[in-house]
Protein backbone atom coordinates (compact mmCIF):
# COMPACT_ATOMS: atom_id res chain seq x y z
CA UNK A 1 0.00 0.00 0.00
CA UNK A 2 1.22 3.49 -0.85
CA UNK A 3 2.40 5.98 1.78
CA UNK A 4 3.83 3.44 4.21
CA UNK A 5 4.68 4.90 7.61
CA UNK A 6 1.93 7.50 7.35
CA UNK A 7 0.96 6.94 10.98
CA UNK A 8 3.74 5.63 13.19
CA UNK A 9 3.62 4.44 16.75
CA UNK A 10 7.04 3.90 18.21
CA UNK A 11 7.66 2.22 21.57
CA UNK A 12 4.49 3.50 23.17
CA UNK A 13 3.93 2.47 26.79
CA UNK A 14 1.37 3.76 29.23
CA UNK A 15 -0.67 2.79 32.25
CA UNK A 16 -2.98 3.95 34.99
CA UNK A 17 -1.22 4.22 38.34
CA UNK A 18 0.87 1.12 38.90
CA UNK A 19 -0.97 -0.90 36.25
CA UNK A 20 0.83 -1.00 32.95
CA UNK A 21 -1.71 -1.13 30.14
CA UNK A 22 0.49 -0.81 27.07
CA UNK A 23 4.04 -2.15 26.90
CA UNK A 24 6.27 -1.02 24.08
CA UNK A 25 3.84 -0.91 21.16
CA UNK A 26 5.33 -0.15 17.74
CA UNK A 27 3.22 -0.02 14.64
CA UNK A 28 3.47 1.57 11.22
CA UNK A 29 0.26 2.23 9.32
CA UNK A 30 0.06 3.21 5.67
CA UNK A 31 -2.10 5.96 4.28
CA UNK A 32 -5.53 4.60 3.34
CA UNK A 33 -5.01 1.38 5.26
CA UNK A 34 -7.77 -0.13 7.39
CA UNK A 35 -6.24 -1.61 10.54
CA UNK A 36 -8.21 -3.56 13.11
CA UNK A 37 -6.93 -3.63 16.71
CA UNK A 38 -8.25 -6.93 17.95
CA UNK A 39 -8.16 -8.26 21.48
CA UNK A 40 -10.22 -9.31 24.46
CA UNK A 41 -11.42 -6.87 27.13
CA UNK A 42 -8.59 -5.26 29.05
CA UNK A 43 -5.88 -6.00 26.47
CA UNK A 44 -5.23 -2.27 25.97
CA UNK A 45 -6.76 -1.81 22.52
CA UNK A 46 -9.03 1.07 23.54
CA UNK A 47 -6.18 2.67 25.50
CA UNK A 48 -4.00 2.52 22.39
CA UNK A 49 -6.77 4.23 20.43
CA UNK A 50 -7.05 6.90 23.12
CA UNK A 51 -3.29 7.45 22.98
CA UNK A 52 -3.63 8.00 19.23
CA UNK A 53 -6.60 10.33 19.71
CA UNK A 54 -4.72 12.35 22.33
CA UNK A 55 -6.89 11.57 25.36
CA UNK A 56 -4.17 9.54 27.09
CA UNK A 57 -0.58 10.74 27.19
CA UNK A 58 1.85 7.83 26.80
CA UNK A 59 4.52 7.43 29.52
CA UNK A 60 7.06 6.82 26.80
CA UNK A 61 7.14 6.46 23.06
CA UNK A 62 6.24 8.56 20.06
CA UNK A 63 3.19 8.92 17.85
CA UNK A 64 3.76 10.63 14.52
CA UNK A 65 1.69 11.45 11.44
CA UNK A 66 3.55 12.13 8.17
CA UNK A 67 6.85 12.21 10.09
CA UNK A 68 5.46 14.97 12.32
CA UNK A 69 5.37 14.11 16.00
CA UNK A 70 1.91 14.49 17.53
CA UNK A 71 2.48 12.64 20.83
CA UNK A 72 1.63 15.62 23.02
CA UNK A 73 -0.59 17.61 20.70
CA UNK A 74 -4.18 18.23 21.81
CA UNK A 75 -6.83 15.90 20.31
CA UNK A 76 -8.06 18.36 17.69
CA UNK A 77 -4.60 19.14 16.28
CA UNK A 78 -3.89 15.61 15.04
CA UNK A 79 -6.16 15.35 12.02
CA UNK A 80 -7.92 12.42 13.63
CA UNK A 81 -11.61 11.99 14.36
CA UNK A 82 -12.91 9.47 16.85
CA UNK A 83 -16.18 7.55 16.69
CA UNK A 84 -17.12 6.42 20.19
CA UNK A 85 -18.59 3.12 21.26
CA UNK A 86 -21.56 4.88 22.87
CA UNK A 87 -21.69 7.20 19.80
CA UNK A 88 -21.59 10.09 22.31
CA UNK A 89 -24.15 12.11 20.39
CA UNK A 90 -25.29 15.28 22.12
CA UNK A 91 -28.90 14.69 23.17
CA UNK A 92 -29.87 18.37 23.11
CA UNK A 93 -28.77 18.90 19.51
CA UNK A 94 -30.55 17.81 16.35
CA UNK A 95 -28.95 15.46 13.83
CA UNK A 96 -27.85 18.41 11.69
CA UNK A 97 -26.40 20.25 14.70
CA UNK A 98 -24.55 17.13 15.84
CA UNK A 99 -22.98 16.59 12.43
CA UNK A 100 -22.24 20.28 11.90
CA UNK A 101 -20.71 21.03 15.32
CA UNK A 102 -17.14 20.36 14.24
CA UNK A 103 -17.56 22.79 11.33
CA UNK A 104 -19.12 25.39 13.64
CA UNK A 105 -16.08 25.08 15.91
CA UNK A 106 -13.85 25.73 12.89
CA UNK A 107 -15.75 28.92 12.14
CA UNK A 108 -17.21 27.73 8.84
CA UNK A 109 -19.99 29.99 7.50
CA UNK A 110 -23.44 28.68 8.36
CA UNK A 111 -24.55 28.37 4.72
CA UNK A 112 -21.45 26.26 4.11
CA UNK A 113 -22.17 24.15 7.19
CA UNK A 114 -25.73 23.49 5.99
CA UNK A 115 -24.46 22.44 2.57
CA UNK A 116 -21.79 20.09 3.91
CA UNK A 117 -24.07 18.62 6.55
CA UNK A 118 -26.76 17.80 4.01
CA UNK A 119 -24.14 16.29 1.69
CA UNK A 120 -22.96 14.13 4.58
CA UNK A 121 -26.53 13.15 5.41
CA UNK A 122 -27.08 12.15 1.78
CA UNK A 123 -23.89 10.08 1.76
CA UNK A 124 -24.89 8.24 4.95
CA UNK A 125 -28.57 7.82 4.11
CA UNK A 126 -29.79 10.19 6.80
CA UNK A 127 -31.92 12.43 4.56
CA UNK A 128 -34.97 13.93 6.20
CA UNK A 129 -33.70 13.31 9.73
CA UNK A 130 -31.87 16.63 10.20
CA UNK A 131 -34.34 17.97 12.77
CA UNK A 132 -34.59 14.79 14.84
CA UNK A 133 -32.93 14.54 18.24
CA UNK A 134 -30.66 11.50 18.81
CA UNK A 135 -33.24 10.07 21.22
CA UNK A 136 -35.65 9.64 18.31
CA UNK A 137 -33.21 7.65 16.13
CA UNK A 138 -32.59 3.93 15.80
CA UNK A 139 -29.24 2.44 16.81
CA UNK A 140 -28.07 2.22 13.22
CA UNK A 141 -29.04 5.82 12.52
CA UNK A 142 -27.23 7.04 15.63
CA UNK A 143 -24.15 5.17 14.54
CA UNK A 144 -24.26 6.88 11.15
CA UNK A 145 -24.75 10.31 12.74
CA UNK A 146 -21.67 9.66 14.89
CA UNK A 147 -19.77 8.65 11.77
CA UNK A 148 -21.00 11.72 9.90
CA UNK A 149 -19.95 14.00 12.74
CA UNK A 150 -16.44 12.55 12.56
CA UNK A 151 -16.16 12.53 8.76
CA UNK A 152 -17.56 15.99 8.04
CA UNK A 153 -14.39 17.68 9.32
CA UNK A 154 -12.32 15.76 6.71
CA UNK A 155 -9.97 13.96 9.10
CA UNK A 156 -6.93 12.18 7.69
CA UNK A 157 -7.38 9.36 10.15
CA UNK A 158 -10.62 7.87 11.40
CA UNK A 159 -10.49 6.17 14.81
CA UNK A 160 -13.31 3.74 15.52
CA UNK A 161 -13.87 2.48 19.07
CA UNK A 162 -16.06 -0.63 18.74
CA UNK A 163 -18.58 1.36 16.71
CA UNK A 164 -20.65 -1.69 15.83
CA UNK A 165 -20.90 -3.35 19.22
CA UNK A 166 -24.16 -1.62 20.15
CA UNK A 167 -25.96 -2.62 16.98
CA UNK A 168 -28.32 -5.54 16.43
CA UNK A 169 -26.53 -8.59 15.06
CA UNK A 170 -28.29 -8.37 11.70
CA UNK A 171 -27.68 -4.67 11.15
CA UNK A 172 -24.07 -5.15 12.20
CA UNK A 173 -23.39 -7.48 9.27
CA UNK A 174 -24.50 -4.90 6.69
CA UNK A 175 -22.89 -1.96 8.48
CA UNK A 176 -19.53 -3.77 8.38
CA UNK A 177 -19.57 -3.76 4.61
CA UNK A 178 -21.00 -0.25 4.34
CA UNK A 179 -18.30 1.12 6.63
CA UNK A 180 -15.56 -0.70 4.75
CA UNK A 181 -16.90 0.50 1.37
CA UNK A 182 -17.12 4.06 2.67
CA UNK A 183 -13.55 3.94 3.97
CA UNK A 184 -12.29 2.71 0.62
CA UNK A 185 -14.29 5.29 -1.31
CA UNK A 186 -12.93 8.14 0.83
CA UNK A 187 -9.43 6.65 0.91
CA UNK A 188 -9.23 7.53 4.58
CA UNK A 189 -6.90 5.76 7.02
CA UNK A 190 -8.96 3.90 9.60
CA UNK A 191 -8.09 2.27 12.89
CA UNK A 192 -10.84 0.11 14.20
CA UNK A 193 -10.90 -1.33 17.71
CA UNK A 194 -12.93 -4.48 18.12
CA UNK A 195 -13.14 -7.69 20.11
CA UNK A 196 -15.06 -9.40 17.30
CA UNK A 197 -12.74 -11.62 15.25
CA UNK A 198 -15.08 -11.94 12.30
CA UNK A 199 -15.65 -8.18 12.19
CA UNK A 200 -11.89 -7.60 12.07
CA UNK A 201 -11.47 -10.27 9.39
CA UNK A 202 -14.05 -8.89 6.97
CA UNK A 203 -13.27 -5.20 7.45
CA UNK A 204 -9.53 -4.81 7.85
CA UNK A 205 -6.52 -4.84 5.53
CA UNK A 206 -4.43 -5.74 8.50
CA UNK A 207 -5.24 -7.18 11.90
CA UNK A 208 -3.17 -6.31 14.96
CA UNK A 209 -3.85 -8.69 17.82
CA UNK A 210 -3.13 -7.29 21.26
CA UNK A 211 -2.56 -9.38 24.34
CA UNK A 212 -1.90 -7.88 27.78
CA UNK A 213 -0.59 -4.61 26.34
CA UNK A 214 1.66 -6.13 23.69
CA UNK A 215 1.23 -6.88 20.03
CA UNK A 216 0.82 -10.64 19.87
CA UNK A 217 0.79 -10.73 16.06
CA UNK A 218 -0.03 -8.54 13.11
CA UNK A 219 -0.74 -9.40 9.51
CA UNK A 220 -3.40 -9.78 6.87
CA UNK A 221 -6.61 -11.54 7.97
CA UNK A 222 -5.54 -14.62 6.02
CA UNK A 223 -2.13 -14.64 7.71
CA UNK A 224 -3.26 -14.34 11.32
CA UNK A 225 -6.03 -16.85 10.70
CA UNK A 226 -3.93 -19.53 9.06
CA UNK A 227 -0.54 -18.88 10.62
CA UNK A 228 -1.06 -17.85 14.25
CA UNK A 229 2.23 -16.94 15.91
CA UNK A 230 1.34 -18.17 19.36
CA UNK A 231 -1.12 -20.35 21.21
CA UNK A 232 -2.88 -17.18 22.36
CA UNK A 233 -3.41 -15.96 18.80
CA UNK A 234 -4.49 -19.41 17.65
CA UNK A 235 -7.07 -19.59 20.45
CA UNK A 236 -8.24 -16.04 19.80
CA UNK A 237 -8.65 -16.79 16.10
CA UNK A 238 -10.94 -19.71 16.87
CA UNK A 239 -8.60 -22.68 17.39
CA UNK A 240 -10.08 -23.37 20.81
CA UNK A 241 -9.43 -27.13 20.80
CA UNK A 242 -6.14 -27.84 22.51
CA UNK A 243 -4.33 -31.09 23.25
CA UNK A 244 -0.91 -31.77 24.77
CA UNK A 245 1.46 -33.80 22.58
CA UNK A 246 5.09 -34.85 22.60
CA UNK A 247 7.04 -34.31 19.40
CA UNK A 248 10.44 -35.09 17.99
CA UNK A 249 11.68 -32.64 15.36
CA UNK A 250 14.08 -33.91 12.69
CA UNK A 251 15.26 -31.72 9.81
CA UNK A 252 11.93 -31.16 8.05
CA UNK A 253 9.49 -33.49 9.74
CA UNK A 254 7.76 -33.46 13.10
CA UNK A 255 7.13 -36.91 14.53
CA UNK A 256 4.32 -37.01 17.04
CA UNK A 257 4.59 -39.67 19.72
CA UNK A 258 1.44 -41.69 20.44
CA UNK A 259 -0.40 -40.42 23.49
CA UNK A 260 -3.46 -41.36 25.56
CA UNK A 261 -5.77 -39.93 22.90
CA UNK A 262 -3.73 -39.75 19.72
CA UNK A 263 -2.07 -42.19 17.39
CA UNK A 264 1.50 -41.69 16.26
CA UNK A 265 1.76 -39.26 13.35
CA UNK A 266 4.03 -37.23 11.17
CA UNK A 267 3.59 -33.75 9.80
CA UNK A 268 6.03 -31.72 7.69
CA UNK A 269 7.89 -29.04 9.66
CA UNK A 270 7.54 -26.61 6.73
CA UNK A 271 8.39 -23.35 8.38
CA UNK A 272 7.27 -23.98 11.94
CA UNK A 273 9.78 -22.96 14.55
CA UNK A 274 9.47 -25.87 16.88
CA UNK A 275 11.82 -27.90 19.03
CA UNK A 276 11.47 -31.44 20.33
CA UNK A 277 9.59 -31.98 23.57
CA UNK A 278 6.08 -31.35 24.92
CA UNK A 279 3.94 -29.14 22.68
CA UNK A 280 0.47 -27.67 22.71
CA UNK A 281 -1.57 -28.57 19.64
CA UNK A 282 -4.49 -26.34 18.63
CA UNK A 283 -7.10 -26.72 15.90
CA UNK A 284 -10.53 -25.38 14.95
CA UNK A 285 -13.71 -27.46 15.21
CA UNK A 286 -14.26 -27.05 11.46
CA UNK A 287 -10.70 -28.27 10.74
CA UNK A 288 -11.36 -31.60 12.43
CA UNK A 289 -12.72 -34.46 10.31
CA UNK A 290 -14.73 -37.12 12.11
CA UNK A 291 -14.71 -40.67 10.81
CA UNK A 292 -16.04 -43.94 11.98
CA UNK A 293 -13.28 -46.25 13.29
CA UNK A 294 -14.57 -48.96 10.98
CA UNK A 295 -14.00 -46.71 7.98
CA UNK A 296 -10.67 -46.02 6.38
CA UNK A 297 -8.26 -43.56 8.00
CA UNK A 298 -7.70 -40.46 5.79
CA UNK A 299 -4.55 -40.96 3.80
CA UNK A 300 -2.75 -37.62 4.06
CA UNK A 301 -0.33 -35.97 6.49
CA UNK A 302 -2.03 -35.16 9.75
CA UNK A 303 -2.87 -36.48 13.15
CA UNK A 304 -5.56 -38.90 14.30
CA UNK A 305 -7.19 -38.76 17.72
CA UNK A 306 -9.59 -41.32 19.09
CA UNK A 307 -12.49 -40.47 21.30
CA UNK A 308 -16.15 -40.93 22.13
CA UNK A 309 -18.97 -38.61 21.05
CA UNK A 310 -20.56 -37.02 24.11
CA UNK A 311 -23.23 -34.90 22.46
CA UNK A 312 -24.33 -33.59 19.07
CA UNK A 313 -25.94 -30.26 18.23
CA UNK A 314 -26.91 -28.59 14.98
CA UNK A 315 -25.91 -24.89 14.95
CA UNK A 316 -26.56 -24.78 11.19
CA UNK A 317 -24.56 -25.99 8.21
CA UNK A 318 -22.50 -28.64 10.01
CA UNK A 319 -23.20 -30.92 12.95
CA UNK A 320 -21.18 -29.98 16.00
CA UNK A 321 -19.92 -32.82 18.19
CA UNK A 322 -18.47 -32.72 21.66
CA UNK A 323 -15.86 -35.50 21.61
CA UNK A 324 -14.16 -36.81 24.73
CA UNK A 325 -10.41 -37.48 24.18
CA UNK A 326 -8.84 -39.15 27.23
CA UNK A 327 -8.64 -36.23 29.72
CA UNK A 328 -10.43 -33.48 27.79
CA UNK A 329 -13.30 -32.62 25.52
CA UNK A 330 -12.97 -31.05 22.09
CA UNK A 331 -15.43 -29.71 19.53
CA UNK A 332 -15.49 -31.18 16.04
CA UNK A 333 -17.80 -30.50 13.07
CA UNK A 334 -19.02 -33.02 10.53
CA UNK A 335 -21.39 -33.03 7.57
CA UNK A 336 -23.26 -36.05 8.95
CA UNK A 337 -24.06 -36.53 12.62
CA UNK A 338 -22.45 -39.31 14.66
CA UNK A 339 -24.47 -40.79 17.49
CA UNK A 340 -23.69 -39.89 21.07
CA UNK A 341 -21.67 -42.67 22.69
CA UNK A 342 -20.09 -43.75 19.39
CA UNK A 343 -16.33 -44.17 19.34
CA UNK A 344 -14.88 -42.08 16.51
CA UNK A 345 -11.60 -41.03 14.97
CA UNK A 346 -10.81 -37.30 14.72
CA UNK A 347 -8.46 -36.43 11.87
CA UNK A 348 -6.72 -33.03 11.75
CA UNK A 349 -4.83 -32.28 8.54
CA UNK A 350 -1.22 -31.11 8.92
CA UNK A 351 -2.04 -27.68 7.53
CA UNK A 352 -4.73 -27.05 10.15
CA UNK A 353 -2.74 -28.31 13.10
CA UNK A 354 -1.03 -25.50 15.02
CA UNK A 355 1.86 -26.63 17.25
CA UNK A 356 3.54 -24.53 19.92
CA UNK A 357 6.32 -25.40 22.34
CA UNK A 358 4.90 -25.46 25.87
CA UNK A 359 7.85 -24.04 27.74
CA UNK A 360 8.77 -21.43 25.16
CA UNK A 361 7.61 -17.87 25.63
CA UNK A 362 4.26 -17.70 23.91
CA UNK A 363 4.93 -14.18 22.69
CA UNK A 364 7.85 -15.27 20.51
CA UNK A 365 6.83 -14.43 17.02
CA UNK A 366 7.28 -17.81 15.50
CA UNK A 367 5.63 -19.29 12.51
CA UNK A 368 3.65 -22.29 13.57
CA UNK A 369 1.99 -23.45 10.44
CA UNK A 370 3.52 -24.67 7.21
CA UNK A 371 4.18 -22.10 4.52
CA UNK A 372 2.40 -24.16 1.93
CA UNK A 373 -1.16 -23.36 1.03
CA UNK A 374 -3.80 -25.99 0.81
Amino acid sequence: MSGAGFLKIDGVATGYGATQVLKDISLSIASGEFVALLGSSGCGKTTLLRVLAGFVAPKSGIVSVRQREVTHLPPDKRGMALVFQSYALWPHMSVAQNIGYGLKLRGVASADIARRVSAMQAMLGLEGLEDRKPGALSGGQRQRVALGRALVVDPEILLLDEPLSNLDARIRLTVRHELRALQQRLGITAIHVTHDREEAMVMADRIVILDAGRIAQQGSPEEVYNRPASAFVAAFMGAENHVSLTVDVQSDTVSIAPGPANRAGQVPLSGRSLSSGPVEARFRPEAARLFSLSAETPNEPGLVFEGRVVSVTYPGGLWRHVVRLADREILADAVHPFAAGETVGVFVAAASLFLFNMSANAADSSVSRPDGRE
Binding site: D76, L82, A88, L105
Partner: protein, 273 residues
Protein backbone atom coordinates in the same frame (compact mmCIF):
# COMPACT_ATOMS: atom_id res chain seq x y z
CA UNK B 1 -64.84 -1.22 50.59
CA UNK B 2 -63.42 -1.63 54.11
CA UNK B 3 -59.98 -1.85 52.48
CA UNK B 4 -60.48 1.54 50.92
CA UNK B 5 -61.58 2.96 54.23
CA UNK B 6 -58.50 1.54 55.86
CA UNK B 7 -56.35 3.25 53.23
CA UNK B 8 -58.06 6.57 53.87
CA UNK B 9 -57.68 6.06 57.58
CA UNK B 10 -53.95 5.48 57.16
CA UNK B 11 -53.35 8.74 55.27
CA UNK B 12 -55.70 10.72 57.50
CA UNK B 13 -53.11 11.75 60.15
CA UNK B 14 -50.72 13.08 57.51
CA UNK B 15 -53.55 14.72 55.62
CA UNK B 16 -54.90 16.45 58.73
CA UNK B 17 -51.45 17.69 59.71
CA UNK B 18 -51.06 19.26 56.27
CA UNK B 19 -54.58 20.66 56.34
CA UNK B 20 -54.39 22.09 59.85
CA UNK B 21 -50.81 23.32 59.96
CA UNK B 22 -50.22 24.30 56.35
CA UNK B 23 -53.29 24.82 54.19
CA UNK B 24 -55.52 26.38 56.84
CA UNK B 25 -53.04 29.09 57.99
CA UNK B 26 -52.23 29.85 54.36
CA UNK B 27 -55.89 30.26 53.49
CA UNK B 28 -56.52 32.28 56.65
CA UNK B 29 -53.67 34.60 55.81
CA UNK B 30 -54.82 34.94 52.21
CA UNK B 31 -58.35 35.64 53.37
CA UNK B 32 -57.02 38.07 55.98
CA UNK B 33 -55.40 40.10 53.23
CA UNK B 34 -58.85 41.02 51.91
CA UNK B 35 -60.36 41.91 55.31
CA UNK B 36 -60.55 45.64 56.00
CA UNK B 37 -62.23 47.54 58.88
CA UNK B 38 -65.46 47.91 56.95
CA UNK B 39 -65.65 44.28 55.86
CA UNK B 40 -64.02 43.01 52.65
CA UNK B 41 -62.03 44.96 50.11
CA UNK B 42 -58.74 45.65 48.42
CA UNK B 43 -57.73 48.34 50.88
CA UNK B 44 -54.79 46.37 52.25
CA UNK B 45 -53.38 45.91 48.77
CA UNK B 46 -53.85 49.58 47.93
CA UNK B 47 -51.99 50.46 51.12
CA UNK B 48 -49.29 47.90 50.38
CA UNK B 49 -48.64 49.29 46.93
CA UNK B 50 -48.81 52.89 48.22
CA UNK B 51 -46.29 52.30 50.97
CA UNK B 52 -44.17 49.46 49.67
CA UNK B 53 -44.11 49.49 45.85
CA UNK B 54 -40.42 50.43 45.96
CA UNK B 55 -39.73 47.58 48.35
CA UNK B 56 -41.59 45.12 46.11
CA UNK B 57 -39.49 46.17 43.13
CA UNK B 58 -36.37 46.20 45.31
CA UNK B 59 -37.07 42.63 46.48
CA UNK B 60 -37.74 41.35 42.98
CA UNK B 61 -34.65 43.13 41.65
CA UNK B 62 -32.33 41.86 44.38
CA UNK B 63 -33.61 38.28 44.27
CA UNK B 64 -33.49 38.18 40.45
CA UNK B 65 -29.96 39.55 40.34
CA UNK B 66 -28.90 37.10 43.08
CA UNK B 67 -30.52 34.21 41.19
CA UNK B 68 -28.62 35.17 38.05
CA UNK B 69 -25.30 35.38 39.90
CA UNK B 70 -25.98 32.12 41.75
CA UNK B 71 -26.66 30.43 38.42
CA UNK B 72 -23.38 31.68 36.97
CA UNK B 73 -21.46 30.74 40.12
CA UNK B 74 -22.99 27.26 40.23
CA UNK B 75 -22.16 26.66 36.55
CA UNK B 76 -18.60 27.85 37.14
CA UNK B 77 -18.11 25.58 40.17
CA UNK B 78 -19.83 22.58 38.56
CA UNK B 79 -17.90 23.17 35.36
CA UNK B 80 -14.57 23.26 37.13
CA UNK B 81 -15.41 20.13 39.11
CA UNK B 82 -16.31 18.36 35.84
CA UNK B 83 -13.64 19.70 33.49
CA UNK B 84 -10.86 20.87 35.83
CA UNK B 85 -7.50 19.49 34.75
CA UNK B 86 -5.70 20.09 38.04
CA UNK B 87 -6.65 17.24 40.38
CA UNK B 88 -5.51 19.00 43.57
CA UNK B 89 -7.45 22.18 42.78
CA UNK B 90 -10.54 20.12 41.99
CA UNK B 91 -10.24 18.25 45.31
CA UNK B 92 -9.82 21.47 47.29
CA UNK B 93 -12.79 23.10 45.55
CA UNK B 94 -14.93 20.00 46.06
CA UNK B 95 -14.13 20.11 49.75
CA UNK B 96 -14.57 23.87 50.25
CA UNK B 97 -17.54 24.95 48.20
CA UNK B 98 -20.23 23.26 50.29
CA UNK B 99 -19.50 24.94 53.62
CA UNK B 100 -21.76 28.02 53.32
CA UNK B 101 -24.74 25.65 53.02
CA UNK B 102 -24.35 24.71 56.68
CA UNK B 103 -24.26 28.28 57.97
CA UNK B 104 -27.63 29.80 58.96
CA UNK B 105 -28.80 32.97 57.19
CA UNK B 106 -28.61 35.01 60.39
CA UNK B 107 -24.96 34.06 60.85
CA UNK B 108 -24.27 34.89 57.19
CA UNK B 109 -25.83 38.29 57.82
CA UNK B 110 -23.70 38.80 60.90
CA UNK B 111 -20.46 37.71 59.24
CA UNK B 112 -21.02 39.90 56.22
CA UNK B 113 -22.08 42.87 58.35
CA UNK B 114 -18.67 42.97 59.99
CA UNK B 115 -16.97 42.16 56.72
CA UNK B 116 -18.67 44.67 54.42
CA UNK B 117 -19.02 47.70 56.75
CA UNK B 118 -17.26 50.97 55.97
CA UNK B 119 -14.53 50.13 58.49
CA UNK B 120 -15.08 46.40 58.10
CA UNK B 121 -12.57 43.72 57.31
CA UNK B 122 -12.85 43.99 53.54
CA UNK B 123 -12.05 47.70 53.39
CA UNK B 124 -9.39 47.42 56.12
CA UNK B 125 -7.61 44.69 54.20
CA UNK B 126 -7.76 46.66 50.98
CA UNK B 127 -6.43 49.75 52.74
CA UNK B 128 -3.62 47.89 54.46
CA UNK B 129 -2.62 46.38 51.13
CA UNK B 130 -2.51 49.88 49.67
CA UNK B 131 -5.24 49.13 47.16
CA UNK B 132 -7.32 52.12 48.33
CA UNK B 133 -7.20 55.06 50.73
CA UNK B 134 -9.42 55.27 53.85
CA UNK B 135 -11.30 58.17 52.24
CA UNK B 136 -12.41 55.96 49.34
CA UNK B 137 -13.77 53.28 51.66
CA UNK B 138 -17.53 52.84 51.28
CA UNK B 139 -19.96 50.63 53.09
CA UNK B 140 -21.47 47.73 51.17
CA UNK B 141 -24.27 47.41 53.68
CA UNK B 142 -27.05 48.16 51.21
CA UNK B 143 -28.57 46.20 48.31
CA UNK B 144 -25.07 45.01 47.38
CA UNK B 145 -24.61 43.47 50.80
CA UNK B 146 -27.86 41.54 50.49
CA UNK B 147 -26.91 40.27 47.04
CA UNK B 148 -23.47 39.21 48.29
CA UNK B 149 -25.04 37.42 51.27
CA UNK B 150 -27.60 35.60 49.12
CA UNK B 151 -25.06 34.56 46.51
CA UNK B 152 -22.59 33.46 49.18
CA UNK B 153 -25.20 31.36 50.95
CA UNK B 154 -27.17 29.90 48.02
CA UNK B 155 -24.51 29.23 45.34
CA UNK B 156 -23.22 26.05 47.07
CA UNK B 157 -26.71 24.57 47.16
CA UNK B 158 -27.30 25.09 43.44
CA UNK B 159 -23.71 24.09 42.66
CA UNK B 160 -24.25 20.82 44.53
CA UNK B 161 -27.27 19.97 42.39
CA UNK B 162 -25.66 21.16 39.16
CA UNK B 163 -22.33 19.41 39.79
CA UNK B 164 -24.20 16.16 40.42
CA UNK B 165 -26.09 16.50 37.15
CA UNK B 166 -22.90 17.44 35.28
CA UNK B 167 -21.12 14.38 36.65
CA UNK B 168 -23.75 12.18 35.05
CA UNK B 169 -23.37 13.78 31.61
CA UNK B 170 -21.81 11.22 29.23
CA UNK B 171 -18.00 11.66 29.41
CA UNK B 172 -17.64 10.45 25.85
CA UNK B 173 -19.92 13.29 24.73
CA UNK B 174 -17.46 15.74 26.30
CA UNK B 175 -14.50 13.97 24.70
CA UNK B 176 -16.25 13.97 21.34
CA UNK B 177 -16.47 17.77 21.51
CA UNK B 178 -12.83 18.08 22.61
CA UNK B 179 -11.86 15.73 19.76
CA UNK B 180 -13.50 18.15 17.32
CA UNK B 181 -11.60 21.08 18.81
CA UNK B 182 -13.99 22.61 21.37
CA UNK B 183 -12.33 24.67 24.12
CA UNK B 184 -13.31 23.95 27.73
CA UNK B 185 -15.48 27.05 27.85
CA UNK B 186 -17.37 25.97 24.74
CA UNK B 187 -17.72 22.42 26.04
CA UNK B 188 -19.23 23.86 29.22
CA UNK B 189 -21.54 26.31 27.45
CA UNK B 190 -22.59 24.24 24.45
CA UNK B 191 -22.37 20.62 25.58
CA UNK B 192 -22.68 20.39 29.37
CA UNK B 193 -24.95 23.24 30.47
CA UNK B 194 -27.68 22.49 27.89
CA UNK B 195 -27.85 18.96 29.29
CA UNK B 196 -28.34 20.12 32.90
CA UNK B 197 -30.80 22.99 32.36
CA UNK B 198 -33.65 21.18 34.15
CA UNK B 199 -31.55 20.65 37.28
CA UNK B 200 -30.22 24.21 37.11
CA UNK B 201 -33.77 25.56 36.84
CA UNK B 202 -34.96 23.54 39.84
CA UNK B 203 -32.02 24.74 41.94
CA UNK B 204 -32.51 28.37 40.95
CA UNK B 205 -36.27 28.30 41.57
CA UNK B 206 -35.79 26.77 45.02
CA UNK B 207 -33.17 29.44 45.73
CA UNK B 208 -35.46 32.20 44.46
CA UNK B 209 -38.25 31.09 46.78
CA UNK B 210 -35.86 30.70 49.73
CA UNK B 211 -34.41 34.19 49.21
CA UNK B 212 -37.88 35.72 48.93
CA UNK B 213 -38.57 34.45 52.43
CA UNK B 214 -35.34 35.39 54.23
CA UNK B 215 -35.83 37.99 56.95
CA UNK B 216 -32.55 37.94 58.84
CA UNK B 217 -30.26 39.05 56.00
CA UNK B 218 -32.12 42.26 55.10
CA UNK B 219 -32.53 43.05 58.82
CA UNK B 220 -28.84 42.53 59.55
CA UNK B 221 -27.40 44.16 56.45
CA UNK B 222 -29.89 46.72 55.20
CA UNK B 223 -32.24 47.97 57.91
CA UNK B 224 -33.19 51.05 55.92
CA UNK B 225 -35.44 51.98 53.03
CA UNK B 226 -35.84 50.49 50.53
CA UNK B 227 -35.65 47.04 52.04
CA UNK B 228 -37.07 43.64 51.31
CA UNK B 229 -40.71 42.60 51.69
CA UNK B 230 -39.94 40.22 54.55
CA UNK B 231 -38.64 43.09 56.67
CA UNK B 232 -41.80 45.08 55.88
CA UNK B 233 -44.06 42.18 56.88
CA UNK B 234 -42.24 41.79 60.19
CA UNK B 235 -42.43 45.55 60.72
CA UNK B 236 -46.20 45.70 60.02
CA UNK B 237 -46.86 42.90 62.48
CA UNK B 238 -44.43 43.82 65.23
CA UNK B 239 -44.75 47.62 65.20
CA UNK B 240 -48.40 48.13 64.27
CA UNK B 241 -50.12 44.80 64.78
CA UNK B 242 -51.35 45.43 61.24
CA UNK B 243 -52.09 41.91 60.05
CA UNK B 244 -54.14 43.07 57.08
CA UNK B 245 -51.24 44.77 55.24
CA UNK B 246 -48.82 42.06 56.41
CA UNK B 247 -51.10 39.42 54.88
CA UNK B 248 -51.40 41.41 51.67
CA UNK B 249 -47.60 41.69 51.43
CA UNK B 250 -47.34 37.97 52.14
CA UNK B 251 -49.75 37.21 49.32
CA UNK B 252 -47.75 39.42 46.97
CA UNK B 253 -44.58 37.45 47.88
CA UNK B 254 -46.45 34.23 47.29
CA UNK B 255 -47.60 35.38 43.85
CA UNK B 256 -44.02 36.39 42.97
CA UNK B 257 -42.63 33.04 44.10
CA UNK B 258 -45.31 31.00 42.38
CA UNK B 259 -44.88 32.88 39.11
CA UNK B 260 -41.35 31.50 38.99
CA UNK B 261 -42.62 28.01 39.77
CA UNK B 262 -45.18 28.44 36.99
CA UNK B 263 -42.45 29.32 34.48
CA UNK B 264 -40.63 26.17 35.52
CA UNK B 265 -43.73 24.03 35.15
CA UNK B 266 -44.27 25.35 31.63
CA UNK B 267 -40.67 24.58 30.66
CA UNK B 268 -40.83 21.06 32.01
CA UNK B 269 -44.18 20.41 30.33
CA UNK B 270 -42.81 21.64 27.01
CA UNK B 271 -39.77 19.41 27.39
CA UNK B 272 -41.94 16.40 28.06
CA UNK B 273 -44.27 17.10 25.12
Amino acid sequence: MPRRLLGLLLVLPALSVIALLFILPLVMSAVGAFRVETGWGLGNFAKSFDLYLNDILFSVGIVSLSTLLIGLGAIAIGGYLTLGAHPLAVTILRWLYRWPMFIPFIVVGQILRTFLAKNGMMNNTAISLGLMTPIDAVSFLDWRGIVIAFVWKQTPFVALLVAGAMASVNREGIEAAVNLGASKLRVLAEIIVPQVTATLAVGLILSFVTMMSVLSVPLMINAQSPTMLTADIAFRVNAYGDYGVANALGLISLVLASSVAWIYLRISLRERA
